[in-house]
């Protein structure tokens, strides 16, 4: 799937946290691009989402501060309390000492609460002292600072970033504890030793247990930088207060698995022995009062010094487990590690912890899983195979916010990526309804972001789309789309209409709907009939236009949904047949098939038609206008629901987007929507085609032919083709768009600067064909645009059979106008140039003419028909839409072609667009583009704009 590819890309793109957040899994089905909301997990990133960079910076700052603190602590001179320092001279040595000493203390004092308090105080004091003195003096200190920076830098790297993110998350997790970090010299030191980071922090928790100073040192060192999720480290800091008191607590009690394992390790025993004594009291408490412990956490540590120690334990235990896990993450880390006594929980153990009776353990385990899974497909797969996904899904219904939040975060990461099996696994354990339930239940914005992000990820896999629709469509609409769009069922007259809010939740949800909207006719029907969805999306888009805020992802998603829902609207909406007005075929706006055929057969007829048009078009503008106006159906009541999709009013919306947006995907989707709406032969498409003209949309579209974005050019070209079903449009387009169309064609084997894809070239050729069919005047414009040379070159030399076939169709049509042959001959062309190239692929094209009967049929249908018949005679249009979804599918194709780079496309494409806009405006001023407009007055643009 293309989407998956994109996901993959996202990691690379996401050097920064921000990037991570908006991971894009773009699944492009249909028009839609599916993006993963933010697979990347980090908490921080979530926060950051839009301006990740800035935030990230802030985070770093925070860390810096903390680091300093840590360092200070470290400096606090700890007397070697009976424990020999392995590396006495080194700073680390001191670290060890301190740990040991405290350990002892804690052991001794453990029972007495007052002592604990005192300890805390003491460390706090130390902190202060050392802080001032030490920093300047200590060489180590300076290094320390440097290291932290290094870490931060390291974050730029994908893995690191993740850790970082997780770190932040940890921070958010327990703000109240933060003060502890400062107080705790212990923690600080750990982090210090560890340089690389969080590992140390983690180690801290565990460290108390470690008897040997040396061992602790090693541990710290062993920590690989990449692992470290500083975030965790931060958490440790928070808990650091507890350590002394908590030490007794030990990991073992909480994590039975972890303890067990340790026992087996040679080194572990030592640690244990030391711990044992400490453990007793605290441990018991922890088990007994997990809830109380949590409550305590919420309080300010200082104020509750007494309680802090015991209470903290349970959590602390969880942290400890995390720490260990952390080490596990990369094999390299493990290999680096020299002390066998320390080891992180393996994946199986982490998953086991998800079922731990103590909630903080669950949430920490889930958070750690999220961290581990970030951009690591192997781990995701392992989690799945170890049956971790059902456990996580089960935690979604957990009453504690912390637990279901972390579980959701883990699921989001697991659901992101190419491996559809992970997505299926989530679905198989009823994860989708569980997510939807949680969405209904929670008001926590962060959880909602995670839920909708997960759904977005899941929606990129075809088989899950309908499942998501079945379980979540109305909920997502009611809970997210409608409230965030600003639309109201029954607008209160007193209140101003609200603007849409481009929240992450809205972005994720619209991305999800965008994906599922591509799942075929049934999916489209469900979305169209979903109460309030179309209304809300339109309101959101109108709000975007009003605020001139049209480049963001949410707008893109909304337009893509609209485009998908507009596809085949003339066939699929209930009662569509009523609108298939046979008389419309004879209306001035269109040409009936029979008449057309006649014109085609005799070039004289074509010319006559043309002249007719001149008379009508130029002299009877008034009549035409009244015709258009009159024909618009009168409404007795306000339109709502899916009917809004094809009301002529939407034309202005799409044209505004086409004029203002700089997002290529949005431009493409808006052009695609017009393309869809102008296809088909029903009353509404007639109105749409006329409305585009009356709203001065043709020049807008023509200018976009100059876009640098291949897909935009293609969508616009096809839209112009559909619009030219309207006779007047055809003539206007033929007169004023021909040069732009032709300029997009390659000259023989030489590609133009734009280097358009084959699909685009074929689309343009087909549009040209449509325009010159039945109009010798347009054929003359084509000749004047120097197109014959290019067409002949393509016909003869293009490597693409589709291209030379399409070019050949155009050439044949041109040659069929006998009154033009004179001119052509004068320029040195002869009949042979207009013959199809004889090649296997093109043989069928030779007798193409007879197949033209349906030229007037809606292009879409032609497509389908062609496909079914498989006849090469048909208009090459068939090439565009393999399965009749021409609009939608193109997107898909597009994605496939670009699969390698799509993740970045969104971001990078904007730049080139700027140039494009420039060109556009020059064009506008220099050329009679205005003439494309029916009524010649161009509205004066605003004279004055605030910026």
């Amino acid at each position: 799937m293309p989407a998956e590819v994109k996901q993959e890309q996202s990691p690379s793109n996401q050097t920064s946290l921000a990037m991570m957040q908006e991971p894009q899994e773009m699944v492009e089905e249909t028009v839609t691009i599916e993006e993963d909301p933010g697979t990347p997990t980090s908490h921080v990133s979530v926060v950051t989402s839009d301006d990740g960079t800035t935030r990230r910076t802030e985070t770093k700052v925070t860390k810096m501060v903390k680091t300093v603190t840590t360092r200070t602590v470290r400096q606090v001179p700890l007397g070697p309390d009976g424990l020999p320092l392995p590396e006495g001279s080194s700073p680390l040595g001191s670290y060890t000492d301190s740990i040991d000493r405290r350990y002892l203390k804690s052991g001794e004092r453990y029972i007495t609460t007052p002592q604990a308090t005192s300890t805390l105080t003491r460390s706090y004091n130390n902190y202060n002292d050392s802080y001032t003195d030490t920093l300047p003096t200590d060489a180590g200190g300076s290094q320390y600072g440097g290291r932290h920076y290094g870490l931060h830098d390291g974050y730029g790297i994908g893995d690191v970033t993740d850790n970082y993110g997780s770190l932040s998350r940890g921070v958010n997790f327990r703000p109240p504890r933060y003060p502890y970090a400062m107080a705790n010299s212990y923690r600080t030191e750990n982090s210090y030793g560890t340089l690389p980071i969080r590992k140390d922090d983690y180690g801290h928790v565990a460290q108390p247990q470690v008897p040997m100073g040396s061992s602790s040192v090693d541990l710290n060192r062993s920590q690989p930088e990449r692992f470290q999720p500083e975030p965790y480290g931060l958490e440790d800091d928070h808990r650091s207060l507890g350590p002394e008191e908590e030490e007794p607590y030990d990991l073992d009690p909480d994590y039975s698995t972890a303890s067990r394992r340790q026992g087996t390790l040679p080194g572990t025993n030592r640690g244990r022995t030391v711990r044992e004594p400490l453990r007793d009291g605290p441990r018991v408490r922890g088990y007994e009062d997990p809830i109380e412990a949590e409550l305590v956490d919420e309080r300010h540590p200082y104020s509750h010094g007494m309680y802090a120690a015991p209470l903290a334990q349970p959590e602390r235990g969880s942290m400890a487990s995390l720490d260990r896990l952390a080490g596990r993450r990369s094999p390299s880390i493990d290999s680096i590690r020299k002390d066998p006594r320390w080891r992180d929980p393996d994946l199986q153990e982490v998953i086991a912890m998800l079922g731990h009776p103590i909630d903080p353990v669950k949430s920490n385990a889930a958070a750690y899983l999220q961290h581990l899974c970030y951009e690591n497909d192997k781990i995701k797969k392992d989690v799945r195979q170890l049956k971790g996904i059902p456990v996580l899904a089960g935690l979604l219904d957990h009453p504690k916010a912390e637990v279901h939040r972390k579980a959701c975060g883990a699921l989001r990461n697991i659901s992101y990526g190419k491996d559809h099996d992970n997505k299926v696994a989530i679905k198989n354990c009823d994860g989708i309804p569980a997510l939807i339930r949680l969405l209904r239940k929670t008001n926590d914005m962060e959880v909602r972001e995670l839920i909708t992000g997960t759904l977005w990820n899941l929606s990129s896999y075809e088989p899950l789309k309908m499942v998501i629709i079945n379980h979540g469509l109305q909920t997502m609409t009611n809970e997210v789309i409608i409230p965030h769009s600003g639309w109201e069922y029954e607008p209160n007259e007193d209140s101003k209409p609200r603007d849409a809010e481009w929240t992450t939740v809205f972005k994720n949800t619209s991305g999800c709907l965008r994906n599922v909207s591509s799942d075929g006719a049934e999916a489209r029907r469900r979305l169209r009939e979903c109460d309030g969805l179309v209304d809300a999306l339109l309101h959101a888009l109108q709000s975007a236009v009003g605020k001139k805020d049209m480049d963001n992802k949410s707008v893109e998603n909304c337009v893509c949904i609209m485009r998908n829902l507009s596809y085949h609207v003339h066939k699929e909406i209930p009662g569509a047949e009523k609108f298939t007005d046979p008389s419309a075929m004879q209306a001035p706006g269109s040409v009936g098939p029979q008449r057309k055929k006649k014109d085609d057969a005799g070039c004289f007829g074509g010319k006559k038609a043309k002249e007719e048009w001149f008379n009508q078009g130029r002299k009877n503008v008034e009549n035409d206008k009244s015709y258009d106006t009159l024909d618009l159906p009168k409404r007795t009541e306000p339109t709502k629901g899916f009917e809004l999709l094809y009301q002529p009013e939407v034309v202005r919306l799409y044209l505004s987007l086409l004029t203002e947006s700089q997002n290529y995907n949005t431009l493409e989707a808006a052009a695609g929507a017009l393309q869809n709406l102008s296809a088909g032969q029903w009353t509404w498409s007639n109105y749409i085609r006329a409305t585009v003209r009356k709203e001065k949309g043709l020049p807008i579209l023509v200018e976009l032919l100059r876009s640098d974005a291949d897909k935009v050019v293609r969508a616009v070209a096809i839209a112009l083709r559909n619009l030219s079903i309207d006779r007047r449009n055809k003539d206007l387009i033929g007169s004023y768009a021909m040069r732009d169309l032709v300029s997009n064609l390659p000259s023989g084997q030489q590609r133009p600067a734009k280097n358009l894809e084959e699909d685009t070239v074929v689309a343009i050729l087909n549009t040209i064909h449509e325009i010159v069919t039945d109009s010798s005047e347009n054929a003359r414009s084509l000749i004047q645009a120097q197109a014959i040379e290019k067409l002949v070159a393509i016909n003869k030399t293009s490597q693409s059979p589709r291209e030379n076939k399409a070019a050949s169709h155009v050439l044949q049509t041109v040659w069929s106008y006998k009154d033009l042959r004179n001119a052509l001959t004068k320029e040195g062309w002869n009949k042979s140039h207009f013959q199809p190239t004889v090649s296997g692929a093109l043989k069928a094209a030779k007798n193409g003419k007879p197949g033209y009967d349906d030229t007037t049929l809606p292009l879409m249908e032609k497509n389908q028909g062609t496909k079914k018949n498989g006849s090469g005679d048909m208009i090459p249009m068939d090439e565009l839409g393999p399965d009749g979804y021409s609009t939608i599918d193109q997107r898909d194709k597009d994605c496939k072609y670009k699969s390698s780079g799509d993740g970045s496309v969104d971001l990078t494409e904007r730049e080139p667009l700027k140039n494009d806009t420039n060109t556009k405006h020059y064009v506008r001023s220099n050329r009679p583009a205005v003439n494309l407009v029916d009524a010649c007055d161009v509205k004066p643009q605003p004279v004055d704009s605030w910026v």
Partner: protein, 123 residues
């Protein structure tokens, strides 16, 4: 300031760097522009040459980022972040100034009294 189309333009310019201000959801510069090749240059009250279709500063918010940076009403904007503004449409200029991903906008402007401009910018 007049010019001959196709010929290089010579003008004394001042560089003005404006840091956008977060205003609600939007980044604002705190001034308004008029003019552009799609506008009627005859209505521009600031231009000497009434055929000048350049972009002019028509209003400056008191205390806003633009004023702080030294931009003045009547200034003609020559460039925005290196992009030419002497031959653009009104809307193009607006877009160029309101890029959401740019926090800082560097303008090259020219005004009738350069001395005044210099004095102002030094204040």
């Amino acid at each position: 300031m007049s010019f001959i189309p196709g010929q290089p333009v010579t003008a004394v310019v001042q560089r003005i760097e404006i840091r956008k201000l977060q205003h609600g959801e939007h980044l604002i510069l705190g001034f308004s522009i008029g003019g552009g090749i799609d506008q009627d240059p005859g209505q521009n009250p600031f231009s000497e040459d009434k055929s000048d279709k350049g972009i002019y500063v028509t209003r400056v918010t008191p205390g806003g980022p633009a004023e702080v940076a030294g931009l003045m009403m009547g200034d003609k904007v020559m460039q925005v972040n290196g992009w030419d503004m002497t031959m653009v449409t009104h809307d193009q200029a607006r877009k160029r100034l309101t890029k959401k991903d740019e926090d800082i906008v560097r303008l090259l402007v020219t005004r009738k009294s350069l001395e005044q401009a210099v004095r102002h910018s030094m204040m």
